[in-house]
Subunit: 290 residues, 2 copies
């Protein structure tokens, strides 16, 4: 798999401009010279929006973007497949990776540069689905700007991106590079129940920080502070419904019953201090309960 | 259970001021006359921050708030229990309810009004845990402002709330009133696997919109467009790994195998049009796959 760089490229903040695709590719902001999507089975890191696809819709801080393939001129003559760039964007959606969005001349005139290309910041793929055009399947992706602090992409009078996002996105799961490594070591299998959720875009698991990130816990984003869990056990762990004892046994808080030993892996060392912190501050045995 | 109003109260936007707790209570923005938390087993709708608890920390767009109970003067003399307002805030955390935050005189001088009380907008409870003070248990809650468009609560030079949130919150699950009703009808049991996730703050399930909210699907936030699912089946449904056929059978997309019939309830009518939309645009059978 290619080495991918998710997120911003040093030295190229939102608003950076490029004269050509060659110029753009040389910086690493969008590496392919022709393809609109830079991505594959492991995820997509960037897209170029430049009006190449008739159905693309640009709302500034929100985009409806069409996948690649099957187009002859402006006409869809073959099904688009869920592979290369298309599976990349779908994978970024379920992993929560940020995608660099570059707008080029030829795109929607309200938001695109008149000449050349411009990096417009990080977006999240919040939805993907397929539709039919000319009796062929196309893949579609909805991307929403991650922050509104870069360029002003909103029209006056429109609801702000933040407000709109709050009503339309129900689940946001972020994934860091460290989190991703832990999930790969465990092959997306939950360390409590062994389940790896199988989806059309590959197996799915979530990275649970043991000692929570952010104030006041300030747990680190390190592999030793991460568990690979299915969404159900992630919810249970965060809510204190399960906890891990000194000898790696997973306990059901409500019944004070052991469930099973946490599955561990030689290449993934967990720091006991963080496990103890979680147990001390989040777990709640029946004896301690309300 | 009391009728709760989550979210903003009509006529009282952020920045609204109140001369007294009586004045505040009369508006419904924060109903109790003394308690700092308005909440119970079903959730918490509002809190007052006014320096009553020595350990509270106010960072403007972020708060570390202490639960109620066990205090004698400034000293913790009894354990705080996970009940009334405390379980309310914990429940709002796992349900994703917005909490109205009111600051009063006596709170952190950087963010609190010098006199009277001020409604400062909606926050989300993003974390809760317990700690020890004077060998007694206290409950602690971290709240983060939902939007930054109201009052300017940030100090110059600090990272913006949006950026900070992106790095510290991993899962955000929103719950609407309609979603909540569906979950209650199904008693938080997943309609695919019957699991209700048991946590110290009550049972947990997620509301999955069948025809997605937002552009371009524009599915409605109506009970007929909602399923009650466990987090695992929610992920699978959104990713097209499972879908529902014309006779309510749930199918595994990857293997083109039926799993079981969707569990339905007489008081929760599902609109077949939405199910068909999901099947048509999100499901992907092996035969159709990459």
């Amino acid at each position: 798999m290619p080495e991918r760089t998710y997120g911003e490229i040093d030295g190229f903040p939102p608003g950076s401009t490029f004269t050509s695709r060659e110029d753009l590719a040389a910086t690493g902001v969008h590496r392919p010279l022709q393809a609109g999507i830079c991505g594959g089975r492991d995820g997509a890191e960037s897209i170029v929006v430049s009006g190449g696809y008739p159905d693309d819709e640009d709302f500034g801080d929100e985009l409806i973007y069409t996948g690649q393939g099957g187009l002859k001129g402006r006409k869809q003559v073959k099904d688009q497949e869920l592979k290369s760039g298309n599976i990349g964007l779908a994978r970024s959606a379920i992993e929560g990776y940020p995608v660099r969005v570059i707008r080029g001349e030829g795109g929607d005139t309200s938001y695109s540069p008149a000449k050349g290309l411009r990096y417009d910041g990080l977006y999240r793929v919040v939805d993907f689905w397929h539709e039919t055009r000319n009796r062929r399947r196309i893949w579609r992706f909805r991307l929403v700007a991650e922050d509104e602090q870069g360029l002003d992409r909103t029209e006056p009078g429109r609801p702000t991106p933040t407000a709109r996002r709050a009503t339309t996105i129900q689940r946001i799961v972020r994934s860091t590079a460290k989190a991703q490594r832990v999930k790969l070591i465990h092959r997306h299998q939950c360390q409590v129940c062994d389940l790896a959720i199988s989806t059309p875009t590959g197996d799915y698991a979530e990275a649970a920080h043991i000692k929570a990130l952010g104030k006041p816990h300030n747990g680190p984003d390190e592999e030793s502070n991460i568990l690979c869990l299915c969404p159900n056990h992630h919810v249970m762990f965060d809510a204190g419904a399960i906890y891990i004892d000194e000898v790696w046994m997973v306990w059901d808080s409500a019944n004070d019953q052991p469930i099973r030993e946490l599955r561990r892996h030689g290449r993934h060392k967990i720091n006991r201090t963080y496990v103890e912190y979680h147990r001390k501050h989040h777990a709640l045995s029946r004896a301690q309960g309300a």
